[in-house]
Symmetry: C2
Subunit: 211 residues, 2 copies
Amino acid sequence: MDIQNAERPDLAKSKRDRILEAAATVFCQDGYTGASIDAVATKAGVSRQTIYNHVGDKDGLFKEVVAALTDKSAAKFMLLMEEFPDKPTDVSAELTAFSARFLNHLTQDKTSRWLLRLAENESGRYPELFTVWREYGSGRKRSLVAAQLSQLALNGFLDLDDATLAARQFLALLTAEWRAEFQLGRFPSEEECTGMAERAVKTFLRAFGKR
Amino acid sequence: MDIQNAERPDLAKSKRDRILEAAATVFCQDGYTGASIDAVATKAGVSRQTIYNHVGDKDGLFKEVVAALTDKSAAKFMLLMEEFPDKPTDVSAELTAFSARFLNHLTQDKTSRWLLRLAENESGRYPELFTVWREYGSGRKRSLVAAQLSQLALNGFLDLDDATLAARQFLALLTAEWRAEFQLGRFPSEEECTGMAERAVKTFLRAFGKR
DNA sequence: GTCCAATTGGACATTAGTGTCTAAAAATAT
DNA sequence: ATATTTTTAGACACTAATGTCCAATTGGAC
């Protein structure tokens, strides 16, 4: 199959991608059991048999979807993390701005939301899959944030004793309101993200800011 | 049906309860679509027909389960909230002790965990059901915590400007580690709960404690 | 003991989904 | 143009689930 993709990248990849994309939406909407191959096929505009040709069976389809989403999501977050303020002139303002972008991305990005949902729902069925996701997805996010916070501490902007814990708490504060209010369907607007980021950063800095 | 329950409370209630109990575990394990009436029937030690006699159909069963769980969970939390420290001699220690108990209950209690799972998974299917749950379950929890925090502030132990926000952030800090590490299957021990509570309260008091 | 409601087990029709197979059609390469 | 590979549509067998109907049975109430 790799050979085929290498030789006919455009069309083969396009069809495969359409399948994976459709499968992602269906899996995340209906869960593993509720999702039907037929639904994926029609949504992808592809015959059912083609899906079986590509991924074998439902299990295979599911695993490929999760792998693809994980990669996609991780890549975007890597990029986003580069905007984390290194040597801010105004810690509060710059951290807030970054947090707002971070939160906005987390809540708007379909891939991220889908993965989170899948991870929460299907972890019982595929524990090994989501162990990987956790270490590679949310775990990686946390450790990147931890590294950045350490640097801020080193540069004298924060007062930390455990950067990993601080990162976890930072992320918890940042996503607290979203988890409580928005998770069911609605999306926060950019303004709402900014508001949530402001309140989270304010508390975070009350706890860990240099006084 | 109410008449029946009133006339023969023991047996009718016992059978009904066995059904609801079994249904709760099956729904939470397999989700709405994955759960089968037969599985519920066998787990409850009851004929399938009896279930249909009691609750009509799968939808009815699901709604009754959620209603029952919501009530049960709410009652327990009401009780637990009475242990919140009013006029502590040592804020940090007493708040930590309460938080540890709270977290222990939240993570160990099957009802709570099931409801949380159901809320996260099935909110798309039954939005109205979980709007109620949110206001009556997690929302009520938060507002109770907010009230207690306000009192602590009034008594000069905390420095707050928004008690509701503080309550949300408090709960987010408290559950942060559990959400990240334990959600998939494993349970935190009492010692682990104490540890998580200590770290959460420490940060919370760094942010909001009177200095 | 007799009556009555609840319960049971099993047969049943219906629906929906998975995965396989095949022959025809479409797209692609040579 | 022709050969090869991919894709398609549809038929198919198989499984599992929902919800209904009913006759037989249980178990408590009077």
